[in-house]
């Protein structure tokens, strides 16, 4: 019988924090500048320069811990992680070791089998290294703008059992970081980085297999694919009677495979020791309460609220709450509605999920860059809901709303687009009138054709006197012709 294997996966995620200044000096933590312009003696690692802790590094780390159900350590310290690399000018990275600021948390992911907790071992504070550029043949170039930029490292328990679960976990972690406004979550640009520890074991056994670490997972797609590949590779190794070797691998996206990184043969020995230049960080329960009160509503809570408050399906709620700004957009559009109610809320959601998201992805823009405001969106839904225009006309004027700052109502008036030139709305009115006046219709069919004028008049009356009589006439004739009287 073939052995069924179970993957054991843990993720280490580095998130670059959106602070104004670096972790231990006042250099700007922003990029896009020319190389080596955001540096000072501290982040250049000059002898004698002393680090001073950025208070937001602590605040952001604690917020992330609170948002992921972690315990916050009352007193935690910094340590030096020692290794040599050209983009690490001090020869050590300031990090945390035995007493990370946050520990023992969890995230809840929604798998096909239901909700699942993924444990968080720890979240600790550290600083980023600089950047090495290896493009040249002869030399490596070093840019230290990034040196000392604050990071949190978020380490999961080995609770993840598939590439899909890893994806879901990472996605949620990213959502939370963005919701907290502490990291921009951009994997391609390296502000969110993910390494995966992967092993497989025969299902039912308690012992973990030998693991490999896969690095360079710089997109969500790569995370999923690399993990899938590595699981199959390890199973293949075991099935061939070999043993998995504990390597550091990297994902080669162009070859679509993991390969062994060229490293020195000895394992790293970081010789951690307490950082003598920084004093302990004490987080009081008052500070924790204060930071907790600053937490926004998190994506999972928002999703639940959208389902209850707006009566949206889980699918809509999930998509809208995935992006805090999109969720805010939806809520302001709903708030602007003249006729609020669950059916209108669903219409707002439909518009956003089809038209708005399509435009955002086509034009590669964020919701804040959309050239249609929540109020305009609300006005469009109102116009459809109260029968001023049909959904078809609404779709037609949508591109014009995008390019203007008028509301749908204004545009409809300016362009004379009200329902009276809207065939679908007129046809509905005609049908209503024909149903209401069934006896007159019968008389019409029996030869009293002058009753048509009466029926047209009824339609115009129903429309509040604004219907285009010629159009009503045409539609009326068509509808009357459709009615058979046998």
């Amino acid at each position: 019988m073939p052995v069924d294997y179970e993957p054991i996966i843990g993720l280490e995620v580095h998130a670059q924090l959106k602070t104004a200044s670096k972790a231990f000096c006042a250099c700007p933590a922003t990029f896009g500048s020319r190389p080596n312009v955001n540096t000072c003696p501290i982040c250049l690692g000059h002898p004698g320069a002393l680090p001073v802790l950025n208070s937001n590094l602590v605040n952001y780390a604690v917020k992330m811990g609170l948002a992921t159900n972690c315990s916050i350590r009352g007193t935690s310290t910094f340590s030096r992680k020692n290794y040599f690399y050209p983009d690490l000018p001090k020869g050590y990275q300031i990090s945390q070791y035995a007493d990370p600021i946050c520990h023992d948390g969890y995230l809840t992911i929604e798998t096909l089998e239901g909700e699942k907790h993924v444990g968080l071992t720890r979240i600790h504070m550290e600083e980023d290294s600089g950047k090495s550029i290896h493009d040249l043949d002869v030399d490596t170039l070093v840019d230290l703008n990034r040196s000392g930029v604050p990071l949190v490292e978020i380490v999961s328990e080995p609770d993840i059992r598939s590439a899909k679960e890893a994806y879901l976990y990472l996605q949620q972690l990213r959502q939370i970081l963005i919701y907290l406004d502490i990291c921009d979550g951009n994997m391609e640009e390296g502000s969110l980085r993910c390494d995966a520890n992967i092993s497989v074991r025969p299902k039912g056994t308690a012992e973990f297999g030998i693991k490999t670490e896969v690095k360079n997972l710089n997109s969500f797609r790569n995370v999923e694919k690399a993990i899938e590949y590595e699981i199959l590779r390890q199973i293949h190794v075991l099935e061939s009677g070999d043993t998995v070797v504990q390597h550091t691998m990297m994902w080669d996206a162009s070859a679509q495979q993991t390969r062994i990184m060229r490293t020195k043969e000895h394992v790293h020995d970081y010789r951690y020791f307490p950082e003598p230049d920084l004093v302990p960080v004490v987080v009081t329960s008052n500070t924790i309460d204060e930071l907790r009160s600053e937490l926004p509503e998190l994506p999972s809570a928002k999703k639940k609220r959208f389902m209850e408050q707006y009566g949206l399906p889980a699918y809509d709620s999930e998509i809208l709450s995935a992006d805090r700004n999109l969720a805010n957009y939806f809520e302001s559009a709903c708030e602007s509605l003249r006729s609020p109610g669950k059916s209108s809320y669903k219409l707002v959601s439909n518009w956003i999920m089809t038209e708005h998201l399509r435009i955002m992805s086509d034009m590669k823009i964020s919701v804040s860059e959309l050239r249609i405001t929540p109020k305009q969106t609300g006005s469009l839904v109102d116009a459809v809901a109260d029968g001023t225009i049909s959904n078809k006309v609404a779709k037609e004027i949508f591109p014009e709303l995008l390019a203007s700052d008028r509301t749908a109502t204004q545009l409809i008036q300016e362009r004379g687009l009200s329902q009276m030139s809207d065939e679908i709305v007129i046809r509905n009115l005609v049908r209503e009138v024909l149903e209401k006046h069934a006896d007159n219709v019968r008389k019409y069919k029996q030869g009293k054709t002058n009753l048509k004028g009466f029926l047209v008049g009824q339609v115009i009356k129903e429309s509040g006197g604004t219907a285009n009589p010629a159009m009503v006439n045409v539609v009326m004739q068509e509808e009357l012709d459709l009615i058979s009287m046998d």
Binding site: T39, L53, S55, N56, H134, D143, L278, P280
Partner: protein, 93 residues
Amino acid sequence: MTSNDIARIAELARLQFSEEEIAAFTNEFIRIVDYVGTIASLNLEGVEPMTTVSGAVNVSREDVAGECLTSEEALSNAPRKNEAFFKVPKVLG
């Protein structure tokens, strides 16, 4: 502590020593480690590790960006550089 340990420590520190130097360091290291090792004879139950001597906590600054060096200044002490970067011998990517 053996000469292998010393060779390993030297390697981690990117230092090169002759056989004789390593032998000499081995003896010195053994003496140092023995000396520090006397702490192991104490009963340290319930004693927290001391990471700093001052007793100060929470020394931090506001998150405000300040002045930096110019890139010329930043690069001025570099043994090898070009107009924008530090240059180091080729490192494997």
